[in-house]
Amino acid sequence: MLNVVKEQIGSILSIRLSGAIEESTNLEKLLGPPAPEMHIHCKEVSRINSVGVKLWIKYFQDAQSRGSKLKFSECSTAIVEQINLISNFIANGVVESIFVPFSCGKCRSELVGLFKTEDLKKVKFKLPTLKCSKCTGPATFDDIPEEYFAFLMR
């Protein structure tokens, strides 16, 4: 089930999404008619199934065709995977920042780090080793760079 928190900040409609996006998700009802400028925060989107993807593309393509400016921030790993798999997933919007998965080499904990896409491009996707927040062990990027950052390399 998807939860939505909306906030109007000047001319921008800020939307925070959390939960799973699937066949029962009614984006038209949850988000309302597309605003001229929308910032979509996807930090807490845990999962999106194929029908959820279809509903998502339908909503944001419609928004784009009505002239909405779309900016996606704090994209969870689930959302990044879809951006990589489907070229029109963000409907010509801009991806401002994404969560990058890390794994601790010592305690095997899963961690995520928030990175701005511009910064990732600047460092050519070479990520530093982080300190695990649980055991202080070394945490390294845990995915395939050519796949996880594919949308930024296109």
Binding site: E23, R47, V53, L85, E110, D143
Partner: protein, 324 residues
């Protein structure tokens, strides 16, 4: 048919893989280094299982030509259910295999450890040489604990998906892996509930019915999900009683990529047509076993790994078994 597994390949890693597959499936492994040599063995010895290197189109064409010349493509000795193509490229890069009349099984040559991959695949091959390759217990190690749930209604799907995700977390799968596998369960259940049901002449019953529709799953519409974990691999099987799986449609969906061309939202159909492709690209392997008008079992496998990187890059395959 003789209890022979024929490998047609000159690659040492294929030989190590095939040797283990044969050992697990209780078959004798024979190796042919060229398509011509392989076709001769097919003609003379009728092997029960054929594994063939089809790394590029030329390699595949040579094999098809050799079989046509020595045996005949439509000979009794040629059965797509028994032919396993091995390639180093992902499915979307090998359209010649998808369109091949010989297509039965696709093995992506990212073995990691060929012996371990061969042991897993050998169980599947063993199942396929039995009368019917049904039942998750045949596909996992003997120690696997298998639980089966019968769903009474389509609205129970999300609950089942979440329950399986929690089960996987308890079995020490990373949360990201558990989410990927939960999504796979979601897709195979949705297909069993909405895509499998057909009428008496094979027309889909629910093609345009919204996937959020609440429907009872009674009688022939009953859907089961089984989950098994043997400590290394998890297998999840969705079962329906329609046996309506269409190989060409299935392969077309599963091999489709939307990284270059755009995904077009079709409002005439309620499904999205991208679920299985997404699962395969996330590290999952598939085994589709379907008896026409009777039963379809769709099993997805994942290996539990230490890192998500290994999980996504794990050995994988797409196998189909059709009974008419």
């Amino acid at each position: 048919m003789n209890n022979i597994l024929l490998l047609i390949s000159a690659r040492p890693e294929d030989e190590a893989f095939a040797a283990e597959v044969a050992a697990v499936a209780a078959l004798t492994c024979r190796v042919a280094r060229s398509p011509e040599e392989g076709a001769e063995i097919i003609a003379s010895d009728s092997p029960r299982v054929i594994l063939a290197d089809a790394s590029d189109e030329e390699c595949y064409s040579d094999l098809e030509a050799a079989i046509q010349e020595k045996v005949g493509l439509f000979s009794d000795k040629i059965d797509a259910n028994a032919i396993h193509f091995i390639t180093s490229q992902n499915l979307e890069k090998v359209p010649y295999l998808i369109q091949s009349p010989l297509f039965g099984h696709f093995i992506f040559r990212n073995y990691g450890n060929p012996k371990e991959a061969g042991a897993q695949y050998g169980r599947l091959v063993l199942a396929t040489i039995q009368e019917r390759a049904f039942g998750l217990e045949k596909l996992l190690q003997e120690n696997a604990k298998i639980q089966t749930v019968k769903l009474q209604s389509t609205v129970q799907k999300q609950g089942a998906v979440e329950a399986i995700k929690n089960y996987l977390l308890a079995a020490k799968f990373q949360s990201r892996m558990a989410s990927v596998i939960a999504n796979a369960v979601d897709e195979i259940l949705m297909n069993a509930m909405f895509d499998a049901p057909v009428d008496d002449i094979g027309r889909p019953l629910f093609a345009s019915v919204s996937r959020s529709t609440a429907m009872k799953l009674e009688g022939r519409h009953a859907v089961e999900i089984s989950v098994g974990f043997d400590g290394r691999y998890v297998g999840l099987t969705a079962v329906d009683s329609f046996g309506s799986l269409d190989k060409a449609k299935l392969l077309s969906h599963i091999s489709k990529v939307y990284t270059e061309e755009e995904y077009k939202v079709k409002t005439s159909v309620a499904g999205a047509g991208i679920g299985l492709a997404t699962v395969f690209r996330s590290g999952g392997s598939f085994f589709f076993s379907s008896e026409s008008r009777h039963r379809t079992e769709v099993t997805v496998f994942f290996k539990r790994t230490d890192s998500f990187r290994e999980f996504k890059d794990q050995f994988r395959f797409i196998s189909t078994q059709f009974y008419f």
